[in-house]
């Protein structure tokens, strides 16, 4: 019986889809059977980030309305045999699916996969409600910006109200140089406000832009720092204890600069 995780944030553009694609790919690379679901009906992106948009025949709305069976809609990634994508519909909107249908769908998929990752749309309305239905756990993604953190706080409150407790935090697009200058919030400031356990910190990385355009998740490229961060997150999801990366390694090797960081191990 698999585990379903919803990846949400409240704020748009903080990296939910990128995170879902990369963690999904990383878990599949580790041998797990993974199904990623794009719950952003009407504005689908997960297929593009994974490079699978040309292979879409059926989508999630077809499945819940009975036009096809789940297996017909799932797209198997040719690069990894145990990674599957259930795409969203592009020509409908979030009201085409309701939370009960979503819950049933996720329960069904849990029988045949180790991990179900649901890419939640931005916002707190129907799309969000659909995405969290049927989720066992939640990962909240935020960037180190006050607006994103404010929205993440709201989302955590809504998750707790829907009985999804103990969400984990990913801080995405961290710019270490700006944190050092005092221009950007650091991870501890964020944890102070949100008060949930950290599962990963991902640095701002140009590789993410190129990999999205290519349709190849950053975890596939060995040298990408963001890819390494996502790999570590996937290990922590599987229960391993992994130290948090120090991101200044490429920039400077003076001991005293390393001490200026405060993200914990």
């Amino acid at each position: 019986m698999g585990e379903s995780i919803v990846i949400t944030s409240g704020k748009g553009g903080v990296g939910k889809t990128t995170t879902t694609a990369n963690i999904g790919a990383a878990l599949a690379m580790a041998g797990k059977s993974v199904c990623v679901i794009d719950a952003d009906i009407g504005l689908r992106n997960l297929d593009i980030v994974l490079g699978l948009e040309n292979r879409i025949v059926y989508d999630i709305v077809d499945v819940v309305t009975g036009v096809c069976r789940i297996k017909q809609a799932l797209i198997k990634d040719k690069r990894f045999p145990n990674l599957f994508l259930l795409p969203a519909a592009q020509t409908k909107d979030k009201n085409a699916v309701n939370p009960d249908q979503m819950k049933e769908l996720v329960e069904d998929l849990k029988k045949s996969h180790d991990y179900i990752l649901v890419d939640c749309p931005a916002g707190i309305e129907q799309g969000f409600k659909n995405a969290i239905a049927g989720a066992d756990r939640a990962i909240v993604v935020t960037t180190p910006e006050i607006s994103a953190v404010r929205d993440a706080d709201r989302i955590i409150g809504l998750l707790e109200a829907s009985d999804i407790h103990d969400p984990r935090l990913i801080v995405n697009r961290l710019r270490v140089d700006m944190v050092k200058r005092g221009d950007m919030m650091n991870v501890e400031d964020i944890q102070d406000i949100l008060a949930i356990d950290l599962i990963g910190v991902v640095p701002d990385d140009e590789e993410v832009v190129t990999s999205t355009n290519r349709g190849e998740p950053a975890v596939f490229r060995d040298h990408a720092l963001s890819g390494m961060a996502f790999l570590n997150i996937s290990k922590r999801i599987m229960g391993e204890e992994v130290d948090f990366l120090e991101f200044d390694v490429q920039e400077s090797f003076f001991e005293k600069l390393k001490k200026a960081f405060s993200f914990g191990k």
Binding site: R150, D153, I156, G157, L158
Partner: protein, 220 residues
């Protein structure tokens, strides 16, 4: 037989006042008030409303009622609970009424409860009570507490608070780390200063109304 309206006009020596049944939703009250005004505004035209008994209203609700009544050419001098002290001018009838009202007001104060909240209040959460509030946790920016009484936060206060929301100027706000986005006590409003020294201090502070403004000082 027509049902008794939850909103009625009554008169006393000082003028007209509104009686409103408690435990009725504000939108039903507004509808009943409009019906009442449509029926009888001509009769009351030119008079003034001096008070209101029964249900307690928030500031925004009172503003809505005031604008509705004013649109019918009836002046609204006040919507506060009727003062027990009525100027004794003529009749012996008045004093017994005054005493009754005093007792009612006291009972309401004694009855008002304190709401205890365990855990952090996250952004978007709103607490609205007639009595006091004690929070065992933080109040994050975006969270709102509106209380008729005092507000005590055993944690970091970073959200919005309104103490004494029904007119109690003696209400206080106390927090271990005092940095609300905005603070209101009764009809006074204030934004605490944002300075570096203050942000690092982790000592309990209290806000109260004095000399027409909200003052904040440390508690030792």
């Amino acid at each position: 037989m027509k049902k008794k309206s939850p909103v009625e006009f009554k008169g006393n020596i000082n003028g007209l006042y509104l009686t409103v049944e408690e435990n009725i939703a504000i939108d039903i009250i507004m509808i009943s008030l409009k019906e009442l005004l449509d029926k009888s505004a001509d009769f009351y035209k030119g008079s003034s409303i001096v008070g209101c008994t029964g249900k307690h209203f928030t500031y925004t609700e009172k503003a809505g009622i005031e604008s509705l009544i004013s649109s019918y050419d009836i002046q609204v001098l006040s919507l506060e609970p009727l003062a027990p002290k009525v100027t004794p001018q003529k009749l012996k009838v008045e004093p017994p009424q005054v005493i009754e009202k005093e007792v009612i007001v006291e009972k309401e104060i004694i009855k008002s409860d304190t709401e205890f909240i365990y855990g952090t209040l996250r952004s978007g959460k709103r607490i609205d009570v007639a009595g006091n509030v004690v929070v065992f946790g933080d109040v994050n920016p975006g969270a709102e507490i509106i209380a008729g009484g005092n507000i005590v936060v055993l944690g970091k206060l970073k959200g919005f608070v309104h103490a004494g929301a029904y007119g109690n100027e003696g209400a206080v706000v106390v927090a271990n780390y005092f940095a609300p986005t905005q603070i209101r006590i009764s009809g006074y409003i204030s934004v605490p200063p944002h300075d570096e020294k203050h942000e690092n201090a982790l000592h309990t502070e209290k806000a109260y109304v004095s000399e027409g403004i909200i003052k904040i000082e440390g508690i030792h």
